[in-house]
Symmetry: C2
Subunit: 407 residues, 2 copies
């Protein structure tokens, strides 16, 4: 048997640790004598068709370690989803370069791309080992306990809300922060991990797992503001009415869709502005502010969970090992082996079709009955993922001075 090559690529939205997985797969693959070279394709499957490869066998370990610590797909990404003809183009290039293994780092769209490719390879009688390496800040891959990229993004969201809660305490008003998450509310729910004291925000959390009612929202905000003298709200960009129509498209002038048919939700402040206007009109409250966390959530330099870094590295290594030693295609999945201080994970090779194109949403046990908060079970679930250095907030504790003039 001739030595063949391993090809790696990255698809979909970047994460803070996606390059850990890349580097894990590169370094592991380089351990095997019977692998001719490790290539990377630029911009996912689109870079295969255009023969746009880099020889990762020639990268120094030192530089690879530096790249691992850099956020966002070092190889670039794509939203392309290949059809049969696209697959034929891919096989032509893979054959020319004698590539026998393809590991694709991505979310549910990228895993579906790999499923299609694996099926077409069989039809085309092209010997190709396909292994999917999970990543997504949305945490919405089935089978997995959680997905690399999510813990770091969750740490960003929790840190952001811990901070804006302090800001809102200093200068009170209503604050609405819009968080990424089309169908799954995991990232929005992470806002709750920014709380420490009983009256800390976010006081309200709205997830795409539940229908959003503008009337309930306004009365919730009013009630929270009456109680706390201020109100911090976390809202998922994917909130929708009871018919499933996203709240943001109710006012969007034109709707932009990607190759996977997804409506554009990020990169616009429209939802936050709409919600702020509704609160102002509906409550009469004056100081109402809205922020859309946007692309910072998945790319911010310097906010990363060390647990996430290690796990992202591991899934890359495990994928390379399965690709080399295993006898079937699949997707590497993460499974939790312990809670709290005993937190741990193990990695398995699951079937591509069990993950590909599917979406996991938050379990009912993670969502409070009020539909505007999360449960303690969710805090228990997320806490160990945030890593060892999640910062903390503190308050002045000394008592108030007795008033002399006022009665």
């Amino acid at each position: 048997m001739t030595k063949r090559k391993v090809l790696l690529a990255q698809g979909g939205g970047p994460t803070a640790v996606i390059n850990e997985s890349l580097v894990g797969a590169v370094l592991k693959s380089r351990e095997y004598d019977d692998i001719d070279a490790v290539y990377g394709a630029f911009h996912g499957v689109s870079g295969i068709v255009s023969e746009d490869f880099i020889n990762l066998s020639l990268e120094s370990s030192e530089n690879l370690e530096n790249v691992a610590k850099t956020p966002c797909s070092a190889l670039g990404s794509t939203r392309d989803k290949p059809d049969e003809k696209y697959c034929q183009e891919i096989f032509k290039v893979l054959k020319a370069h004698d590539i026998g293994t393809f590991c694709y780092i991505g979310g549910n769209d990228s895993s579906d791309t790999l499923r299609i490719l694996a099926e077409e390879a069989i039809s085309a009688d092209y010997a190709l080992r396909c292994v999917h390496i999970p990543k997504t800040i949305d945490n919405d891959l089935t089978v997995n306990d959680h997905t690399p990229g999510y813990p770091s993004a969750a740490k960003f969201v929790a840190s952001a809300f811990a901070g804006v809660n302090q800001d809102n305490r200093a200068l009170s008003g209503v604050y609405i922060g819009v968080v990424m998450g089309r169908h799954a509310g995991f990232l929005t729910a992470a806002s709750a991990l920014g709380r420490k004291f009983d009256d800390d925000g976010p006081h309200l959390i709205y997830l795409p797992e539940r229908s959003f009612s503008m009337d309930s929202f306004i009365s919730d905000v009013k009630a929270a503001n009456d109680k706390y003298g201020r109100c911090v709200v976390a809202v998922s960009e994917g909130i929708h009415d009871e018919t499933g129509e996203p709240i943001v498209t109710k006012l969007a002038k034109e709707v932009e869709k990607d190759a996977h048919g997804n409506v554009q939700l990020s990169g616009t402040g429209a939802l936050a502005d709409l919600l702020c206007d509704s609160v102002r009109d509906g409550t009469g409250l004056k100081r109402v502010r809205g922020d859309t966390f946007g692309y910072l959530q998945r790319s911010f330099l310097g906010c990363v969970s060390d647990v996430d870094q290690r796990e992202a590295r591991a899934v890359g290594e495990v994928a390379a090992a399965h690709a080399h030693d295993g006898d079937r295609d699949g997707t590497v999945t993460i499974h939790r082996t312990g809670e709290g201080a005993s937190y741990g994970t193990e990695y398995k090779l699951s079937k591509l079709e069990d993950v590909a194109g599917k979406t996991k949403v938050m379990a009912d046990e993670f969502i409070a009955d009020s539909n505007s908060d999360i449960t303690d079970a969710f805090v228990t679930y997320l806490k160990p993922l945030l890593g060892s250095d999640m910062p903390d907030t503190h308050r002045l504790e000394a008592g108030r001075v007795e008033k002399i003039l006022a009665e």
Copy 2:
């Protein structure tokens, strides 16, 4: 002479290190035997009128050190600006509690509040030592080389742009990030410190020190996109046309103003969305995304410059020392004593009226002739302020694989 009390308060927008200054002033004041107690007023001058005090002499040093590391005014803040009657109310309370010293941590509005209070105290024949402690993420205080709070916010902005530049490399398009800064562009300019490689964004930077032309903006974006195949833009929220009218008010439905007469610029995504729409319409480019960094810039938990922390602590200490040992009111100012590796600062007591209510903007030498970038002189100015642990980005370096199929 009877022992009198020291009163501390915080005004205006919070920063990541404003509590370092508070704690510096508390701990320094507690060193003096002839000070009866150190009080804090909640929500700035408004907490004086309402006699809402905390006895900071009773706080443990341990908790004070924890609070120092927590972002955003631990005492709360206010945008109130007292008139003569308001000042009389203040003196009534100060007299009742035998307060002889007032140190107010804030920006140019808060320093103006202190100037008014100091003048009214003389008219009212109330013996009050007034010392202003500088803070503002806008970096717009006169006399000062820079102001506490700015370096940490600048680190946030630089880290954010370093990240979104990576994101934009992975999935190309036009990205517009709107940064805080009404009149001064220092914080927006900090985006340039996120660059490392020649083709890194932000490729365009628009500051409120220059008039903004929508036509030039669109042709600049088009040119950058033609050159780099993508375009990252940093824009100050305060950009305005040649008449001085803010670009954002050109489409705002209603304009909100604070007690100082400032139009609301933050807490809305309107400017980013307007600019994105203009780029789409003007260039025909499809993937155009806009984020407004919002309140995260000044409050994000865990993004802080250690240089900023130390300097914020120092201005609090120096203010307390001047208040105790000095013979005049004033504002503590920061002066640079060396550049690069020799970077250092010294602190002086300057006149309140030299800083109060005044605004410093970026010097011409910091702004490129193109009006859409900053100069190397600005990079030299800002770099030492970002502290010892500003993270870095790295790229894959190995060469491209020679194409076999494509000619």
